[in-house]
């Protein structure tokens, strides 16, 4: 059992050990640096508060990923609601649709020669359903095994497999639309 309320040094050490992992997963999910920083902070605030509820049934990283992914889902839903509202207000103010679309995102850890391709892939990932997106990010960028992804998402391993198959099929379809010949 974890107890950070009476041990601030342990909490600092825990944060140092896991902050980059959480930040990268959140950043890949949200594709927005400022939002990812904010959500990472919220994840560790939750970790501090609910550490005593961690019973050790799953690995600490699984528990951390679960908190982080739940926060990401909330943030993505908030973003979707904001986009819907913006499209309504744009309609009445006479702006063209798409003025509020985010700029292309590329993870800062991607090497220079891959940046252009990665930007297209992130754009395609942004169009996936949330659960496919989560399974894909946890598998491809976080390199988690299917079993751990299943534990994070609270689904069966076969559900993870089918989510990944569908995510990859959808990504190929979307990317096919971006291809203009090389």
């Amino acid at each position: 059992m974890l107890d950070f309320k009476n041990d601030e040094i342990a909490f600092t050490a825990f944060m140092q050990a896991h902050q980059n992992r959480v930040f990268n997963a959140v950043l890949n999910m949200l594709q927005h640096v400022e939002d990812a920083e904010e959500i990472t902070q919220d994840v560790f605030v939750d970790v501090y508060r609910s550490a005593e509820n961690f019973r050790g049934d799953a690995a600490v990283t699984t528990w951390l990923y679960r908190i982080a992914m739940n926060k990401c889902i909330d943030q993505l839903r908030k973003k979707q609601r904001r986009q819907k509202w913006n499209s309504v207000t744009d309609f009445f103010s006479g702006k063209t649709f798409g003025d509020n679309e985010p700029h292309d995102f590329v993870h800062p850890g991607i090497i220079a020669e891959q940046k252009e391709k990665a930007a297209l892939l992130y754009k395609a990932i942004d169009q996936l359903a949330v659960n496919q997106r989560m399974a894909y990010i946890l598998s491809e960028t976080e390199n988690l095994p299917y079993k751990e992804i299943a534990e994070v998402m609270k689904v069966s391993v076969s559900a993870v497999e089918s989510l990944l198959v569908r995510a990859k099929q959808n990504l190929r379809k979307i990317l096919g639309g971006y291809y203009h010949g090389q």
Binding site: N20, L27, F44, V45, L175
Partner: protein
């Protein structure tokens, strides 16, 4: 067609093996500040209880006063007394008593 498939495969592999980005160096400080500010902004339970008790007492007083005042109302006896005293039997308030005839 083959070229397209190859291109898609390359794009699909472009985010694999990315080096991890560094989290904000002030993350820990910000988390601690957030925890502290949320603790400070919370009202102590004792104060919440005292405030709700005050509101409940005020509401009860209001109800008691309202029921008492409606029970003791005498159906306009006061105004009848004034009418009788000043002989105000004419209810036509627009009449001036002045006539051109």
């Amino acid at each position: 067609m083959m070229e397209k498939e190859q291109w898609i495969n390359k794009v699909m592999g472009s985010i694999k093996n990315q080096s991890p980005a560094e989290a904000n160096p002030f993350l820990h400080t910000r988390v601690i500040a957030k925890l502290k500010s949320e603790d400070d902004s919370k009202m102590p339970v004792r104060w919440v209880f005292a405030l709700s008790l005050c509101i409940a007492v005020l509401l009860c007083l209001n109800v008691v006063l309202f029921t008492k005042s409606s029970a003791h109302s005498n159906g306009g006896d006061g105004i009848q007394q004034v009418i009788a005293e000043y002989s105000l039997t004419d209810t036509d308030i627009y009449s001036t008593g002045f006539s051109n005839k």
